[in-house]
């Protein structure tokens, strides 16, 4: 008999989550009730849909959990369920690579502009330059390169010059693809202004 610890864990997680949602989150973070009466008009309030869903999740996860204990599925699937230690190692590395790249993408451009200004460049704020070469591309190109090269290096478990070359070419091609033909498209992080 095959145990299904992940399914049971999932069930417990969702039971706890839906109870929290039903009794804490929904009451404090939704203004209107399940049914609202306002100037003679009776309508469904904002709380209806989330309440019904949370209740349904509660029921379904209880059933799923009980079935997983009393009637475990035969392990027909070749892929094993759940995460192991390896998965966590990989995830940790992936998250580091993604966070560093995004931070570069968002902050590098403004930082460079500030530095130029600090050294007497007087080129204006990053916001004014977010459609001006080369400032508008600094963050995207460096951040994008870091993302691609970082992940290639994680998967291949080494830093290769060849991988770096591929990453540089890829970032340049993507930049040209979006930036050159369309001047109403702004690459990250420039459109948020």
């Amino acid at each position: 008999m095959q145990k299904a610890p992940w399914t049971v864990g999932l069930a417990i997680f969702f039971v706890a989550g839906s109870l929290f949602t039903l009794f804490v989150w929904i009451p404090i973070d939704i203004e209107t009730g399940v049914i609202e009466t306002f100037r003679r008009r009776v309508t469904i309030g904002d709380a209806m849909a989330p309440t019904v869903m949370a209740a349904a999740i509660l029921v379904v996860s209880i059933v799923m959990g009980i079935l997983a204990v009393i009637r475990p599925e035969p392990s027909t699937s070749k892929v094993k369920e759940g995460l192991d230690k390896q998965s966590f190692v990989f995830l940790a590395r992936l998250i580091v690579a993604v966070s560093v790249s995004l931070a570069l993408m968002v902050y590098l451009g403004p930082l460079v502009v500030d530095m130029v200004n600090a050294f007497g460049g007087e080129i204006g704020s990053y916001r004014q330059l977010r459609a001006t070469y080369p400032y508008k591309l600094i963050g995207y190109v460096v951040g994008g390169f870091t993302l691609i090269y970082g992940i290639i290096s994680i998967v291949e478990n080494r830093f290769s010059a060849n991988g770096a070359l591929v990453s540089i070419i890829a970032v340049i091609v993507i930049t040209i693809l979006y930036d050159v033909p369309f001047d109403n498209l702004l690459l990250p992080p420039n459109g948020s202004g």
């Binding site: 100037r39 204006g124 004014q128 001006t132 109403n184 202004g193």
Partner: protein, 321 residues
């Protein structure tokens, strides 16, 4: 890091401003944007507001060489956009487009709208909604009075609106005439039109999208929600004539965060007005086809208009209490 960014940015801006001041004191030069202008549209792509905003932006780019970058931020009839716009920098490089209701009724009716009248600089209106009550011609009604007569016999009609304001007006009508509607709020004019055509509802509110169907005789404007009668349907009475003392019309409006430079406000307003009033532009042709023509209000007149909008919204709310 953001603190560092802020101070250096401020220094830079001050430097630029000083430089600009020195070079422009001799000639009163026209305001020019120092970077790209973000145009945040408060409604989804493809609708009436979106189409106007994009056409105007494209024309401004062509005429003035301003780099206009439109994007959509829809939700709650423009309120989501207003919240976001409020906190954007007030250098004239961020403007938004919505309808005047967002800064009047919608703001007051919501428990927590998250913004107030003084959070914005009002730049220019473009055109007015042709707000009317619409039904399929096959229903046999000529004006809204026929609907009231039928409703008085105890028939309960399904009546679609686009905002809480429509529900409130319907409530006033119900009280005034002692009738009952099943009012339903749909998101956007197109959904109201579809619901009317499919027979899911009996009648609904339209802001101008119904023009084509009315002109072809498929639908009929039963009443006008404006001060005056709807241009294409002179036979339909206004609600005011029918004893509902409220102008439900709205205008499409460009706004910016509060406190943008006066010359930027003027330059933007002039440029937008110029485009929309020029009958050769696509933007002007669009508003003429759908809303009966441009209606540009700017400057102090616009501030007064917004104030009045709030006053009438308050009157309406009092009436309902």
């Amino acid at each position: 890091m953001s603190a560092l960014l802020n101070t250096t940015t401020k220094l830079a801006v001050a430097g630029i401003a000083a430089a600009a001041f020195m070079t422009t004191t001799s000639v009163q030069a026209e305001w020019k944007p120092k970077g790209p202008i973000s145009v945040v549209i408060g409604f989804a792509a493809g609708g009436g507001t979106d189409t106007q905003a994009r056409l105007i932006a494209a024309e401004l780019k062509k005429r003035k060489g301003w780099n206009m970058i439109p994007s959509n931020l829809s939700g709650r009839g423009g309120v989501v956009m207003a919240r976001k716009l409020k906190s954007m920098p007030n250098d004239g490089l961020s403007i938004g487009m919505a309808v005047t209701e967002v800064f009047g009724y919608n703001m007051l009716a919501s428990k927590k709208s998250g913004y107030k009248t003084s959070d914005f600089t009002y730049i220019a209106t473009t055109t007015s909604s042709q707000m009317g009550i619409v039904a399929n011609t096959s229903k046999g009604w000529k004006t809204f009075k026929d609907v009231i007569a039928a409703a008085k016999k105890g028939k309960v009609f399904k009546f679609a609106g686009m905002s809480a304001k429509h529900a409130d007006i319907n409530f006033l009508i119900e009280q005034k005439y002692g009738v009952k509607f099943n009012t339903v709020i749909l998101r956007g004019g197109r959904k109201v039109m579809n619901a009317i055509i499919a027979g899911d509802v009996d009648l609904g509110w339209g802001a101008g999208i119904q023009a084509k169907a009315v002109l072809s005789g498929k639908m009929v404007n039963l009443a006008s929600g404006l001060k005056e009668r709807i241009r294409i349907s002179p036979d339909a009475p206004t609600l005011m004539e029918m004893g509902i003392p409220y102008d439900i019309g709205a205008k499409f409006i460009f706004v910016a965060p509060a406190g943008i430079p006066a010359d930027a406000r003027k330059a933007l307003a002039d440029a937008i007005g110029e485009v929309i009033n020029d009958p050769t532009t696509k933007a002007s042709q669009f508003v003429t086809k759908r809303y009966g023509g441009p209606d540009v209000i700017t400057g102090n007149k616009l501030d007064a208009y917004i104030k009045n909008e709030i006053k009438t919204a308050k009157v309406l709310m009092k009436l309902l209490k």
